[in-house]
């Protein structure tokens, strides 16, 4: 479906020295330098997949997305969807895709929402019959009925996002790009949006490329993850793979009635572990122990805990993806 080959993008950047003196200097002689925002990125996305596209701030995420949506022209390399290339024929390319930028809207701000769909119908040359069917479907999935007659400027953020997603899907695109679709939304609304995305993906086999800072979006939606950092591709695989590769950290949770479990349990001395391989946190009677399952076996740590303190309730779970990715962003990937 989507093929990205050796994508690269360079920008020219003006350097301004700080302070008033710097301002004066750049007034007469601005200095520029070349910045490589995206450096040789390649990946493929099969039809019907939801791809989570992640990376820390400034990693080059948006630059890649903007090249994939035909907004930026790559310095070199190419991307194709269904064999179509945005730099060769932008117009036929963008008919294949739908784009939602969470922080911007493509709706007509001053007019009732319905009007936006009327205009987009013409822009994308959707015929009357398909338009009616499409609106019925979008209405059902995204629940637009209650606010479709209100001016866009009066919509809440959640309503606006639903309306924007509907707008991007009006022409039945094969690929949907969602950039921060849940930004600034409350938990319930986030949930609604996620469910709608999932439904559209399932029913129509729409390929979805999702970038987000909310890793719960990734955990709940993404079949696969591509992670980039400093413009380079650093991970490409399923959520499960990410966990097995970087997720040796486990979490042991238990409830105890002993008064001072921390001093009774000395994991570090007992297993002779480094400080980054184990940490203990207590909240009232419940204790949370994070440990590296490669440095110490799960069975050993369980046995030691049960033998040392009186335990009421105990469980071991995988570290969640959010934890893994947070660690990766912080340390960088080797």
């Amino acid at each position: 479906m989507i093929q990205v080959e050796n994508l690269r993008k360079e920008f020219k950047k003006t350097i301004k020295e700080p302070g008033l003196k710097g301002s004066f200097k750049s007034l007469f002689k601005p200095k520029t330098e070349r910045v490589v925002a995206v450096d040789d990125i390649s990946f493929e996305v099969p039809k019907g997949e939801i791809l989570g596209f992640i990376g820390p701030n400034g990693a080059g995420k948006s630059t890649v997305i903007k090249m994939l949506t035909g907004i930026l022209t790559p310095t070199s390399g190419r991307c194709t969807i269904n064999g179509k290339n945005p730099t060769v024929n932008r117009k036929s390319y963008v008919k294949e895709i739908g784009v939602v930028f969470g922080q911007r809207t493509q709706l007509w701000w001053d007019l009732p929402l319905r009007e936006t769909y009327g205009v987009l119908k013409e822009i994308y040359e959707v015929d009357e019959k398909s338009y009616r069917e499409r609106m019925a479907f979008l209405n059902e999935t995204l629940d637009l009925e209650s606010f479709i007659s209100s001016p866009v400027r009066t919509l809440s953020l959640g309503q606006r996002m639903r309306a924007d997603i509907a707008a991007s899907l009006l022409h039945s695109p094969k690929v949907l790009f969602l950039d921060e679709p849940t930004i600034g939304l409350d938990v319930v609304v986030k949930d609604n949006i996620r469910r709608a995305i999932e439904q559209i993906n399932r029913q129509e086999q729409t390929t979805v490329i999702l970038t987000t800072h909310d890793l719960a979006d990734i955990e709940l939606l993404a079949d696969r993850i591509v992670m980039i950092d400093k413009g380079k591709n650093v991970f490409d695989g399923s959520v499960g793979e990410l966990k097995t590769r970087y997720g040796q950290m486990r979490e042991l949770n238990f409830v105890t009635d002993s008064t001072d479990p921390e001093s009774a349990l000395s994991y570090r001395e007992h297993f002779s572990l480094d400080s980054e391989d184990v940490s203990v946190k207590r909240e009232g009677s419940s204790v949370k122990v994070r440990f590296n399952s490669e440095a110490v076996a799960v069975s050993d740590i369980l046995a030691y805990t049960l033998a040392t303190v009186r335990v009421n309730d105990i469980s071991v779970k995988d570290a969640d993806i959010e934890e893994i990715i947070r660690r990766l962003y912080k340390q960088g990937v080797d």
Partner: protein, 272 residues
């Protein structure tokens, strides 16, 4: 005073940096605006060629040239975006935020704009005045430049800027009534342009009309400083017009305070 300077200096600084950042943009803006002067110049040139006699309503051609370019220089020196800034605040409701801010909003804006101007005027005043005086010397045959007049002119410009600033603050409150600021601003600029002599010297108007316009605050904005530079106002007359400027500056300062009080009442009635 020293404390006030310490508080507001960062705003002057910020204003200067802002201008420096958009340098190229600013240069084009000035170039575009100067073009208008040249259009006026050629029209007046043609007018003097077509008319009889050397002077017209008290102006010779060299004086008219000085007038055209000085009006332009004065306009850029006293120009203020305060109406715009206040209008935006009124429109989006953020004017209510002023109630909880420890520094005076008007003052911060004033100083930021001054910072802006300090940098722009440095690049404008010297070359423009110098160029103008060279041309005038060539045309007239002798040097007409007076340092005293220039200094009084600059003082008069500061007063004119203050009048314009507070007038614009007052005008910004119109956003409570007219929502379309751009249109309202255009109307204002057009009327002020005419009444202040920026489009045609006030002495070209019918006498009674001209005399009324002279007392209105708008003549204090443009016409008065330019007349001072040209040495038309001397002695008692000079003091009278400077006094009038001071009066209008105080008047609009007071009016802006009053309008603020009224809008605070209005805000509290509406609940923000």
């Amino acid at each position: 005073m020293k404390r006030a300077f310490r508080i507001y200096f960062p705003f002057i600084n910020a204003g200067m940096q802002e201008t420096a950042t958009y340098r190229v943009n600013w240069i084009f803006y000035i170039l575009g605006s100067v073009l208008g002067c040249f259009v006026s110049y050629f029209i007046w040139h043609a007018v003097f060629l077509s008319g009889e006699g050397e002077t017209m309503n008290g102006f010779t051609l060299p004086q008219m040239i000085v007038y055209i370019f000085l009006i332009f220089l004065t306009s850029t020196m006293i120009g203020s975006d305060a109406a715009w800034a206040v209008g935006e605040e009124v429109r989006d409701g953020s004017i209510a935020m002023r109630l909880i801010k420890p520094v005076s909003y008007n003052a911060t804006f004033l100083f930021q704009e001054l910072g802006n101007k300090l940098l722009t005027e440095m690049f404008l005043v010297v070359p423009l005045i110098a160029g103008l005086e060279i041309v005038r010397t060539i045309l007239v045959g002798s040097l007409q430049f007076s340092v005293v007049n220039l200094l009084i002119y600059l003082c008069s410009c500061v007063l004119a800027y203050l009048i314009n600033f507070f007038f614009n603050i007052c005008f910004g409150f119109i956003a409570f009534v007219i929502k379309y600021l751009w249109g309202a601003n255009m109307m204002k600029n057009c009327i002020v342009g005419f009444l202040s002599g920026a489009i045609i010297p006030l002495s070209f108007l019918p006498e009674t009309l001209g005399r009324i316009f002279m007392i209105l605050p708008f003549a204090s904005l443009n016409y008065t400083p330019v007349m001072i530079y040209m040495g038309v106002y001397q002695g008692a007359e000079l003091l009278y017009f400077l006094g009038l400027q001071v009066f209008w500056a105080l008047f609009f300062w007071g009016l802006s305070k009053l309008l603020w009080v009224i809008s605070v009442k209005r805000l509290s009635v509406q609940g923000g």
